[in-house]
Symmetry: none
Subunit: 222 residues, 4 copies
C-alpha cells in the first residue's frame, strides 16, 4: 500500500550539503551535476527528483551555508555578555572561517557575489535572496550594538546608525577574508581583523576614562 516514503526535505538538505562542497571547490560554472551527484552518492538524475535545476541546487546549497554560519555565530554569542567581547566573537568566527583547515567553504562568498553581480548569474536579480540570507547575521550584530548602548558601553549617539555599522562590519570583514583568500602570505588576517575592529570599537565606545589613550592595536598589545 505504502511504498518507501522518504523525507524529501531531509534528502534535499543532504544533497544541498554535498553540493556545497562541490560548489565551494569548483565554483558554480565548473561544478557539474555529475560531480554533485557523485558527492551526494546518488544517481545523476536523482538530483532532479529533488531540485528543478542546477540553479536550484545552488540556491539550496547557499541557504544551507548561510544557516550554518548564522547558527555558529549565535552559539558563540550566547556564551558572552560583554558587548565588546561579543563583537570580538565576530572576528574570531571570521578568523576561524578564514583559517579553517578546509578553506574551500568560504570560497562560496565569492560564488555568491559572482552569481549575483554577473548578468547571466544564477542569483542575478535575486538581491532579495542574499539580503534575506544575511539578514540574520546583520540583526545579531545590530542587537549587540543596541544592547551595548543601553548598558552604557557604546555611545548613545550611534543608535540611529546601528544597522549601518553592522553593515560596515560585515562588509569590511568580507573584504578582509577575501583578500586573505587570495593566498598572499604577507597578508596577516589576524592582524588585519584586529586592526579594523579596534579602530571601530575605539570610535564607538564610551571612553573609559578621560585622557586614557588606548593603543590602536589593543589586541596585539595584550
Amino acid at each position: 500500500m505504502s511504498p518507501l516514503i522518504i523525507d524529501k526535505t531531509e534528502k534535499q538538505q543532504q544533497i544541498a550539503e554535498a553540493a556545497l562542497d562541490v560548489f565551494s571547490k569548483q565554483g558554480y560554472a565548473a561544478a557539474s551535476m555529475r560531480q554533485i551527484s557523485e558527492a551526494a552518492g546518488v544517481g545523476k538524475s536523482t538530483l532532479y527528483e529533488y531540485f528543478e535545476s542546477k540553479a536550484d541546487v545552488f540556491i539550496a546549497a547557499i541557504r544551507a551555508w548561510i544557516g550554518q554560519i548564522g547558527r555558529r555565530m549565535a552559539a558563540l554569542m550566547e556564551k558572552r555578555t560583554d558587548p565588546i567581547e561579543k563583537i570580538y566573537v565576530a572576528v574570531e568566527l571570521a578568523n576561524d572561517i578564514g583559517c579553517a583547515r578546509d578553506p574551500a567553504m568560504n570560497r562560496l562568498y565569492i560564488e555568491v557575489y559572482e552569481q549575483m553581480v554577473v548578468e547571466t548569474g544564477v542569483l542575478h536579480h535575486r538581491g532579495d535572496l542574499v539580503h534575506e540570507m544575511s539578514a540574520d547575521i546583520r540583526r545579531i550584530l545590530t542587537d549587540v550594538i543596541l544592547h551595548g548602548i543601553s548598558t552604557g558601553v557604546f555611545k548613545a549617539e550611534i543608535a540611529r546608525d546601528a544597522e549601518r555599522i553592522a553593515f560596515n562590519m560585515i562588509a569590511c570583514i568580507d573584504g578582509l577574508l577575501l583578500n586573505n583568500l587570495l593566498g598572499n602570505r604577507r597578508f596577516d588576517l589576524k592582524w588585519q581583523l584586529d586592526f579594523y575592529l579596534n579602530n571601530l570599537i575605539e570610535m564607538i565606545r564610551v571612553p573609559i576614562e578621560a585622557g586614557a589613550q588606548a593603543g590602536f592595536i589593543k589586541g596585539e598589545e595584550a
Copy 2:
C-alpha cells in the same frame, strides 16, 4: 614605419580592452571567444594569433584593467599635497567606481577573486599575479602614509605597519564596494566609505589638539 604594420603588442592591448568589456559584463565562464572576437572586431581565430588561450586573454584583460585604475589613482594623487586629503582621494575613486553609470566594470573585481580562489580557476596558484597587479596601488598608499608620518600628520609609531594599513584600506574598501554591488538599496556606499575612513584616520593621525574629541563621522558633520 608604414602605419599599416601594427605592433603586435599594440593589437594585444586593443584586444585585451575589448575583452575587458565582455568579461565585465558576462563573467569569465559565460563570455565566449566569439563574443570577444566580435567586440574586438577581429576573426575568432585571430585571437589565437595573439593569445594562447582564453585564460591568456583574461589575464591580459585584467592587467589592462589594473593599469587603468593605477593610472587614474596616481593622477588624482598628484593634485593633492595633504596626506589626509590624499587618502580621501582613494575613497572618492572607489565611490566613483562603485557608482559609475556602468557598474559592469567593477564586476571584474569578483571575476578576479573567483578565478583565483576556485580550484579550477584560471588564476589559481597565480596569487603572485594579483599581488603584483595590486602592488602599485598598495605602494602608492604606503607612500602616502609614510609621507604623512614624515610631515607630522600621522603618528610615528605606525611606520612599521604602513604597508599593512595600506592593505587594510584596500581590503575593506573592496568589501564595501562588493557589498554595494549586491544592489541593496539600503546600503549607502558614501556613508560606509566615510565611516570606515574616518575611523581609520582618527586612529592614525596625530591628535590636532589635546582633548579634542572628533565626531566619529567627521565627514558628515562638516
Copy 3:
C-alpha cells in the same frame, strides 16, 4: 462481490481513456508516463501493473478511441433508413469531429498514422491493428452501399466495388479532416465534405429521371 475489487479489465479501460486524453493533446512522443499516471489518478508505476509499456498504453488508448467512434456512427446510422441519408451521416459525424470545440481528440488520427508509418513507430508493422480497428467503420459503410443497391438506390454494377468505395470515403474524408486541422482559415470543411460526397453519390446513384441534370453541389443549391 465487494465493490472495492475492481476488474482488471475495467481499470485498464479507465487508464486507457485517461491516456487518450493526454496522447491527443501532446502526441505520443511528448506525452510522458508521469502525465498519463496523473491524468489517470494513479501512481506512475501502477501503469506497469496494467500495461507492459508505454507502447501498450498507446495501443489500448487508440483501441478505446476507435470503439467510441464506431459506436457513435452505428448509433447515428440506426435512426435513418434511406441509404443516401445514411451516407450523409458519415459526413456529419466527420464534420462534428472536425469542428468540435476540442480539436485535440482528432489529432489522434495523425498520431496513429505517424506511429504506423515511421520506422521506429509504436505501430510499425502493425498494419493489421489499424486495419482491424477501422474494419467496423468500413463494414458499416459497405453495408450501406450494398443495401442501397438492393433497394434500387445505387447502381447495381458497383456491387463488386462496394468495399473499395467505402475505403475511398474513409480515406478522402480523412484527408479533408486533416487539412482542416492544419488551421487554414480559408479551408471550408463543410463545403469540402459536401463537394466530395455529392460528386460521389451523383456517380453511384441510379439517375432519378432521364435528362435530370443535378447541380454539382447539390447540398449548397438546396
Copy 4:
C-alpha cells in the same frame, strides 16, 4: 587573407536534404541530431553552424521537400496541353510518390501534420508556413481549372470555386496516399486515385454530348 569561403546556402541545402532522409525514416522526435549529422557527413556540432536548432533543420528539410514536389509537378504539367490530361498528371505524380521505391519520403506528409497539429509540435502555430509551402501546388491546380474553363472544357459556373476544388483535390489525394501508406495490401492506390478523380472530372467537365453516359471509372475501362 581570405580563408576558405563556403556557400552557406548551398551547404544548408545539402544538410537539409540529408535531414529529409532521416526525418522521413524516423520521424521528427525519433530522429537525432547525431543521425542527421552522420547522414550529412559532417560533425554533430557543424549542424549548428548552419541551423539554430533541430526545429530549424526540420523546417528547412520540409521546405526542400515541398520544393522538389512543386518542381516535379510543374515539369510534368508543361508537357501536356489538355486540361483534363493535366489533372491526371496529379494522379500520376501522387501514384509515383506513393509507390516510389523509397516510400520513406512521403512519410513526411505525416510528420508535417503531426508537428503542426500537436501542441508541442515544431510547426504548431506556423500554419502560415505550411500554407505558404503548399501554395505553389494549389496555384498550379487552380490555374489548370481556370484554363480548362476558358477553353470550354470545364463548366463555367465552377469558376468561383476553382481554388476550393484545387484544395479538395490536394486534401483527398493526401488522404488516399496516407491510407495507402498504412500498408494495407488490399488498398489499391491506383484504383482509388482514379475513382476519386474520375468522379470529380465527370462533375466539372462540360458533357461531351447529350445522352453520352461515361463509365464511372473511365480510366479502368480504357
